[in-house]
Symmetry: C2
Subunit: 326 residues, 2 copies
């Protein structure tokens, strides 16, 4: 795990479920999550039950080194969970090792069978979706932050996970990027069914309408989510679209407008309520400036959820839907 | 096959590969393709080698009646081909019957393994993509018509199939709507690799950016195709988006603009070169009026490929790319 973004699954669990994370296992100079470094045998001895394959590489295929680590974990008596496209259960050697030790293999990126085709019919309940200028710009982190903030205010709000890390954190969800292409929006309609308790579904976005590899997933997710409200996520200073050197990110205004335009297909009344910036790569002055610029460009509250929380975005959401039709 | 559009796979083969179609097998008052009605035993006796499951229902699941027909065909000594999402090879009874008779099962909607994530990097060669206002408006028919017309003029032009019917007709292709969502555009980059012989890849479109169930497939296909030229396909008079009663189709101008806008992500120079209308449900006067209106609305040649061919669209294509950078 030499590259920080590739370890986002490991980091997400460490940040959002620290009480469940006993330690980290790293190869060489891998990303440090601030957890105790443990070999699999030590982890098992300290009471760990499951090793989570914490990387999220494009394509989702296990390297030979990763396979060796999984086998070592099984030999040490750990269950293993993974959200890669390449499934633990499909690897004969891993499956045999798990069976031999009576250990469990959790492939969280395996979608359920019998998914419906999306129909976009209006459904009850309020839904917010995070969208982004790129992959890995903080959509999951923002969505979980919104859940925490809304619950702290006594509101009904439920995170709906759509990616491997979110599913491992929430314990449930829909691996939208792993479903058969015809069922993308239908799978999100299933993930976030009608609700009539006055609460919000907070749906984790994936990819970007401007990513040449993943825009199809993003559009199907947008249509299936049928959002009432969007929050746009962005990492200022990123040099190019993830995995595509030379390709610039869209500007915030264009990105937001295109998402709103596309979202109107299944919810003509959709609005944007905030911008979430990951300013961790900027110095504090630059970070503040980026937030001010984002507010000027979009007319929306802009916050860095790590540094500032998402309180002003939730304020805007509630103001819009209190005075609106809600 | 009570509904004409659901039989589009059967019809496509009968129209485009009549020399290979010995007869039709229908349940009750199914769609008549004008072929001799044959029971499976008669078909085998007349030299048929394969029964093609000719329906294309949403969701792609086999009914009990369909399963019974497949089993009967295998018992009669026929191979069976299908493009449904539910695979012949995944049905234990069908697989057992095929093995017992040493017959082959062709699941044409099974994508290859190891698909790449799309990167949208510019690649050599000319590509045309058909896009549409809805599913089943004539994208495949139009693309095959363009291939025929261009080849008749001595041009290098190759149909690239993306759906079950097209794959059965071409004998090759990529079932784009059946790939894992993360690989939609990558699968199309693989289907239509760089070419430097001056010829055109004519890529069959799928779905519509305005279909709430399938827009993700359409967008990924649009990005992966990296088209130089678009042809917009439409069926005037259709009451609502396919499978979604109450949802209107987009107007031609909006649909074309949104496709061009989205296509610019991977080819900033993309242009539209024609409109293809399926006017079969209109009387001749209405049909002519629809074509005139389409030309006025888009400034492009509009033709019904069944009634008029696609000669003027090819004229426009060649004029644009002769005087342009090609």
């Amino acid at each position: 795990m030499a590259e920080p973004l590739a370890a986002k699954t490991a980091r997400g669990i460490a940040v959002w479920r620290p009480e469940l994370a006993l330690g980290q296992f790293r190869r060489g100079a891998g990303v440090d999550l601030g957890l105790p470094d443990l070999q699999v045998e030590d982890a098992a001895a300290r009471g760990a039950r499951t090793m989570v394959v914490g990387v999220a590489n494009a394509g989702g295929v296990m390297s030979d080194a990763m396979i060796a680590d999984v086998l070592a974990a099984l030999r040490a008596g750990l269950h293993v969970a993974s959200g890669l496209h390449q499934r633990l259960n499909d690897h004969p050697q891993i499956r045999a090792a798990a069976q031999a030790r009576d250990r469990l293999l959790f492939d969280v990126r395996r979608p359920p069978g019998g998914l419906p085709v999306g129909d976009g019919q209006p459904r009850a309940g309020r839904r917010l979706l995070t969208v982004g200028t790129d992959c890995a710009v903080g959509k999951m982190y923002t969505t979980l932050s919104l859940e925490r903030e809304m619950r702290a205010r006594g509101l009904l709000a439920d995170f709906r996970a759509t990616g491997q890390t979110g599913i491992l954190i929430a314990g449930d969800g829909m691996p939208v990027d792993a479903v058969i292409a015809d069922f993308i929006s239908g799978s999100v309609e299933l993930l976030s069914p009608p609700r009539d308790d006055g609460g919000w579904d907070l749906i984790e976005g994936q990819g970007s309408l401007f990513h040449p590899g993943f825009a199809g997933v993003s559009l199907g997710l947008l249509h299936g989510a049928q959002p009432d409200a969007l929050v746009l996520c962005h990492e200022p200073g990123r040099a190019h679209v993830r995995h595509v050197p030379g390709r610039a990110l869209p500007d915030l205004r264009t990105c937001l407008d295109r998402n709103l335009e596309a979202a109107r297909l299944t919810n003509p009344d959709v609005i944007a309520v905030g911008v979430s910036l990951n300013t961790s790569s900027l110095d504090p002055d630059q970070g503040r400036r980026a937030l001010v610029e984002a507010e000027e460009l979009t007319g929306l509250p802009a916050q860095d959820p790590v540094a500032d929380g998402v309180g002003r975005i939730v304020d805007r959401l509630l103001a819009q839907f209190r005075t609106g039709s809600g």
